[in-house]
């Protein structure tokens, strides 16, 4: 009887642990709550939501942005740049182009399906690019492995593909037809503003591919208000809200502890 009770409790505990792990993680692209290959749970960064008064010694990473920047926010970023701060925008969908325009930059992200022969994997979008510019981000790095990047136009080139690169418009993984070989730029900069056409460099599966680059980035702040590092899961967002709100956390702890204390007190009275 007792052994069976323990077995049931153990089973329920394990099931509860699995259920907890399930509801507190997600499979959403780039989410820091995604512990899978396409999440960013393994990327060490400090998340911030307020873009004012940023530490100019750190790099601000705006990562796969999917939210527009208000004029005030763009102004804060301009002030950050003017104060010597450095911004790295990693985008491959072109969502950052409006922000780039607001920041007075001529650089633009051109979404596409860049593929290259300069690779050692069967996937044509997973290939190697060369470091062509002198930048601390790529100090000690000769090549970077990118993962389905977009081209970046304008600015001083930092990462360049080999001439055997094409925009795989028909998605068949083979160059041909109207797809012609050409060199493309996937990272460029203008002063302290750098645009990288491949946010995939920060997903869990890609972190081991370019360790020196990831190390050069530190310390890095991630703009969590506009980046896709968040999640739409209400459970995770509620837990995050509780963790970020001390009063609610305290209230919840009290709600958990008080009935137990009351129960123990009653037992003692008996």
């Amino acid at each position: 009887m007792q052994r069976e009770a323990w077995a049931v409790f153990l089973l329920l505990f394990l099931a509860g642990a699995v259920a907890y792990a399930h509801v507190t993680t997600t499979a959403e692209e780039y989410s820091r709550y995604n512990v899978g290959w396409n999440g960013t749970s393994g990327f060490a960064a400090v998340e911030i939501r307020d873009l004012t008064d940023l530490d100019p010694t750190a790099i601000l990473l705006i990562f796969a942005p999917d939210q527009p920047f208000s004029p005030d926010e763009a102004g804060s970023l301009r002030a950050f740049l003017d104060s010597g701060g450095r911004i790295l925008i990693a985008d491959e969908e072109g969502n950052a182009n409006q922000l780039l325009a607001d920041l007075g930059s001529a650089m633009r992200v051109r979404p596409g399906n860049l593929s290259s022969l300069d690779r050692d994997h069967a996937a044509p979008g997973l290939f190697t690019v060369s470091v062509v510019g002198n930048d601390t981000l790529f100090a000690g790095v000769e090549t970077i492995r990118v993962n389905r990047p977009a081209a970046v136009e304008g600015g001083e080139p930092l990462l360049e593909t080999s001439p055997l690169t094409w925009d795989d418009a028909d998605g068949d993984g083979r160059p041909g037809g109207k797809e012609i070989f050409r060199t493309a730029i996937v990272c460029a900069r203008e002063g302290n503003l750098t645009v990288l056409g491949d946010p995939s460099l920060f997903i869990n599966a890609m972190l081991p591919e370019n360790p020196a680059f990831i190390e050069n980035l530190q310390p890095v702040l991630v703009d969590a208000a506009h980046s896709r590092t968040g999640t739409t899961s209400p459970v995770i967002n509620t837990i995050a809200w509780i963790q970020e709100t001390p009063a609610v956390a305290t209230a919840l702890i009290a709600l958990g502890v008080l009935p137990v204390a009351w129960r123990f007190g009653r037992k003692r009275d008996e």
């Binding site: 009887m1 069976e4 009770a5 077995a7 049931v8 089973l11 329920l12 099931a15 692209e29 290959w37 396409n38 796969a64 491959e92 022969l117 300069d118 690779r119 050692d120 994997h121 069967a122 996937a123 979008g125 997973l126 492995r145 993962n147 389905r148 080999s162 001439p163 055997l164 094409w166 068949d172 993984g173 083979r174 160059p175 041909g176 037809g177 797809e179 012609i180 070989f181 946010p199 995939s200 997903i203 599966a205 890609m206 591919e209």
Partner: protein
């Protein structure tokens, strides 16, 4: 928690786990992740590595190839045929490596693929140039040796004429590829200067043979004439090769040659004329040579041009149980069927399957595909034809799987049955002292009148005490949920009994025979009820 509830929870948990596992059992991802990807990226850990990929060699090889053409033609021009042989062998080796690389990298549809095709034609042209230049030199020597023998001299001059025409055609074709080749070379920063020089050298070599042949042929008109009409054609056209043989006898067999390959036969008629038809089929676009031979007499050489044509290829898929039937047509832009032509069926951009068109330009191939969605394209590469390559739009076929594997379900059912059997076995009543019969709640007075029967024979002392506790609680009409302490409070007259039992039950004490006897008396309500 009671026994039945525990078993129910266990059974439900086990069955739920098995159902969840069965749902995933047919999904290979559970076991091995392959080519995991989204629109934004792929998982490098699941993508196979390439072992024979060497794109870095591509552009240097292009430079080497163009460089070889310069030295090769220069050596031919200088009549250093041994050096030219070595250059040609090296050029062929490099071309082979380059072609292999283009295939491995799957870039035959790009401008580099076009460069490779031009290079293959250049290789063939330069090989032919070396052979023909040597042969022409030989003919020059033979002509000097047989001076005075007009019959043999005429034959030599005709062969020289054929060679010269062929050289001229080759030079035109070689020069015709110059613009495209240089444009591609410039795109990749490849030095094309040696190739430009090779085009000039080629033209100079041919120019020299033309001059010498003109000098040799001035005094030797042939009695066998030849005309090709029309002098241009496309795939599927029929060209007429006609002429007269002055002094020839009726019934003489006249053989027609196109590019030194026999192309047809004709019989001289009474008026000394002959005619045969030549159908344009698998022959490259460009300038070609024709001549005829009757007895030992060679005609002059006639030229004609074959012009390129576009093609269209269609593909229709039909499902026939486990097979997929691919059918389609290959036609020229003018609607002519392209007969007996090789067709490639490419499944999912890979795995080419070769088939051939029939006399109507139709092809049919039955292929077996694994379960899943596949995209199939039909391709015609047009190598050796005066036609352009073509490719059908991709057609999609979905091959149904053989159904879900029954294994997970069988395993789930077997496990559920096993769990049921185990639970049922575990649920059998223990062979211990029977608990007192459930007693309906009655008043203490009524119960006292009808004490329960108690059999303590063979029971351990602690269990015997428990049986007596149940008996007294039942006799007093107290609810079964009441603990010894509750009972002591509800029936103070028996508090001693209940407190002693509490110590036995919870403190682990063992009652003596004396105590048991006293408890039994109290439980049964007096001495008269003792067993």
């Amino acid at each position: 928690m009671n026994h039945r509830a525990l078993h129910t929870v266990l059974a439900v948990a086990v069955i739920t786990a098995l159902i969840l596992l069965a749902g995933e059992a047919t999904t290979p991802l559970l076991y091995t992740a392959t080519n995991t990807s989204t629109a934004a990226h792929v998982d490098p850990a699941t993508v196979p590595k390439l072992s024979d990929n060497d794109p870095d060699a591509l552009i240097p090889l292009m430079e080497d190839l163009l460089g070889k053409t310069g030295t090769l033609t220069l050596n031919i021009k200088l009549k250093d045929y041994e050096s030219a042989e070595r250059d040609l062998a090296r050029y062929a080796e490099l071309s082979g490596r380059f072609a292999e690389l283009v295939i491995n990298l799957d870039i035959s549809r790009t401008d580099i693929g076009e460069f490779q095709r031009n290079n293959q034609e250049n290789l063939a042209a330069l090989g032919a140039l070396l052979d023909d230049a040597r042969r022409f030199e030989d003919l020059q020597r033979v002509e000097i040796q047989i001076k005075g023998d007009e019959g043999q001299r005429a034959a030599v001059i005709y062969e020289g004429e054929v060679l010269q025409q062929k050289l001229q055609g080759g030079a035109a074709a070689y020069a015709g590829r110059e613009d495209v080749t240089i444009r591609i070379a410039d795109r990749y920063g490849v030095n094309a200067t040696p190739y430009r020089e090779s085009v000039r050298n080629y033209a100079e070599i041919v120019g020299a043979t033309v001059s010498r042949q003109a000098e040799a042929g001035e005094s030797s008109p042939s009695p066998l004439s030849i005309t090709v009409t029309p002098d241009t054609g496309r795939y599927g056209d029929s060209l007429s090769i006609t002429g007269t043989y002055t002094g020839g006898t009726a019934g003489t067999l006249t053989k027609a040659y196109v590019d030194s390959q026999i192309a047809g036969n004709a019989i001289l008629d009474e008026s000394g004329t002959y005619a045969c038809s030549y159908r344009v089929d698998r022959i490259p676009a460009g300038l070609h040579l024709a001549y005829t031979v009757a007895d030992v007499i060679h005609s002059n050489v006639a030229t004609f041009e074959i012009r390129p044509d576009d093609t269209t290829i269609t593909l229709t898929l039909e499902e026939d149980r486990v097979f997929t039937v691919c059918t389609g047509n290959l036609t020229t832009a003018g609607g002519r069927p392209v007969t007996l032509a090789p067709i490639l069926l490419r499944v999912d951009g890979d795995t080419p399957i070769t088939t051939e068109t029939d006399e109507n330009g139709t092809y049919r191939e039955v292929i077996s595909l694994p379960a899943g969605e596949h995209i199939i394209k039909a391709e015609f590469d047009a190598v050796g034809y005066p036609l352009s390559a073509s490719e059908s739009p991709g057609a999609t076929v979905i091959v149904p799987s053989g159904g879900l594997s029954p294994f997970p379900f069988i395993a789930a059912i077997a496990t559920a049955l096993g769990s049921g059997w185990y639970l049922r076995r575990r649920h059998r009543p223990k062979e211990v002292a029977p608990a007192p019969e459930p007693v309906e709640t009655v008043s203490v007075e009524e119960e006292a009148a009808t004490p329960p029967l108690v059999d303590l024979a063979g029971l351990p002392p602690r269990e015997a005490a428990t049986v007596l506790f149940y008996a007294l609680r039942s006799r007093l009409g107290l609810p079964e949920a009441k603990t010894p302490r509750d009972c002591a409070q509800l029936a103070p007259a028996h508090a001693g009994f209940f407190e002693r039992y509490e110590q036995i039950r919870y403190a682990g004490e063992t009652p003596s025979e004396e105590e048991l006897r006293a408890m039994k008396e109290e439980a049964l309500g007096g001495e008269e009820h003792a067993a």
